[in-house]
Amino acid sequence: MIRASNILRVGFALAVWCGAALAADPLPPEKIGVATAPVPTPHRLYLTDLQIAHITDGVVHIVDGQSFKYLGMFSTGLFGITALTSDSSEMLVASTYYTKRNRGDRFDQLEAFDTKTFALKKEIQIPAKHAMALPYKGTIAPSVDDAWVFIQNATPLSSVTVVDHKAWKVTAEIPTLGCWIVLPSQSNPRRFATLCGDGTLVTVTLNEKGDSATQARSEKLFDAEKDPLFVQGERVGDSYYFVSYEGNVKVINVGGDVAKVEDAWSLVDDADKKAGWKPGGYQLQAVHAATKRLYVGMHDAAKNGSHKNPAKEIWVFDLATKKRIQRAPGSNSIAMALTKEAKPTLYAYDGINLNFVRYETAPELKPVASGDKVGDFAGLIETH
């Protein structure tokens, strides 16, 4: 009886309100709804946040870099690793679930969130081995044509799960013992390379079905002991630009059967070395192919263990001349990414103030604006 009488009462009250509305123009009754995601721009930023203090509750924050307005989020769960598809239409997430939240049976999934609607588009179970890693670029990666998704595994033994993106099924698990990070090739979408602990790269080439692969190990291309490469590679065609702990650039081509070094040079001169300037951060550099620019987060007085320090400065190099052409304030950057534009904007993530800083890149690199705090334990930016 309670229900019926209340409906009458509510109905009466609403009728009264409606009468009032006509008489004196109060605010009209409103309808609740769900917002439509805004049309993406090149300045839309995706920030992957591990949330270490609440490890099962990872997210990707979606922010408009022009207004720094918060647009929404994707839930990524326990050590979710993330990558935009090459066409930016989906955010790919590999994550781990337990049937009882923190316990029970483990299962892993690859999930695709629609960047147009922010809704979960599709999901598929994958081998329960996905690398529970901080969000480094290349822990998960689409092929350049988005036909394949490559997912780093660690049990801690390394392997790579291959997913046919169109058929949306797992086709293979490729053992890559002692190697880490997927580096897709541009010229051959069924090929990727991976960095190995002995200083070699292993190049994996899948067959057409993606269910078997050949592997070829390069010569030793870097010294993993004395001058390790940061795993954050910036791709231009088939070439990946890496920087090393000691401040050397190495350009490695992954287009062929076997990876090879194309070029190598140093970011630091004798004076820089004396002051201890070295690269540091998580996503610590960015490359823009058209304008031939390399941006690297640097800190001075570097010492054993400072290689993840926030940037004191961001150094700008001309890839043609291999010369430093500018030093800009570092904004405590621990992650940075360029917009995919002919005249790019650089976005840095300040690891101390936990906010985005926008830099114009021309005529020279310059911080121009910063947003409010976003994220708690974030380390990877992607631009739409």
């Binding site: 609403l14 309100w17 109060p26 009754p29 409103e30 989020m73």
Partner: protein
């Protein structure tokens, strides 16, 4: 006015489901003096805010017409994250979330037109906590035995996913027809 009819029916059902009294619709007058809420950055500021709210001097930055601040007039009984800071709006849930099927209700004074309005606080559900712009206001709030005016429960409770994300503030109408 089809949307309005549907809206009316849905709200009436929702209200009927969760209260055994007409209390939800009772006009509760709003004390305007000293309602200067801080804008908290962290969740625990809910209490800091509540503490400072008591007798704090009005602050020029605290604009009752700014819908990303706790002191926005509609938020007088809102306990949660503002959807306006989470990708939604005052009345719209952020993309990818779902509006709650049941709600609690407040009565808030709109300084712009001098009227008191019934406001429905719908939680938005199904994605991880937004964690931004936490507010905790309690005008007219009552304990759980008056559930329809209680804000210390998860109003995503009736949804397919009851994961709480943020809260919107939807005007249902003028309070008690007094407007």
């Amino acid at each position: 006015m089809k949307w309005f009819d549907e809206f009316f029916e849905r709200q009436a059902r929702a209200v009927a489901q969760k209260t055994s009294r007409r209390s939800a619709l009772t006009k509760i007058s709003r004390a305007l003096v000293g309602t200067a809420f801080l804008l908290p950055v962290l969740p625990f500021a809910r209490v800091a805010q509540a503490a400072h709210g008591g007798g704090a001097a009005p602050d020029a930055k605290l604009d009752p017409m700014n819908d990303t601040h706790c002191e926005y007039w509609r938020y007088c009984s809102l306990d949660g994250f503002l959807c306006t800071c989470c990708g939604g709006s005052v009345t719209k849930c952020p993309p990818g979330s779902q509006a709650s099927s049941v709600t609690w209700i407040g009565t808030c004074h709109n300084p712009d037109d001098g009227r008191d309005y019934i406001v429905s606080y719908n939680d938005c559900c199904g994605i991880a906590s937004c964690g931004r712009c936490f507010c905790n206001a309690n005008e007219g709030e009552r304990p759980g035995y008056r559930l329809s005016v209680h804000n210390d429960v998860n109003w995503c409770m009736g949804n397919e996913s009851s994961i709480y994300h943020c809260t919107v503030s939807v005007v249902l109408g003028v309070s008690g027809g007094a407007g």
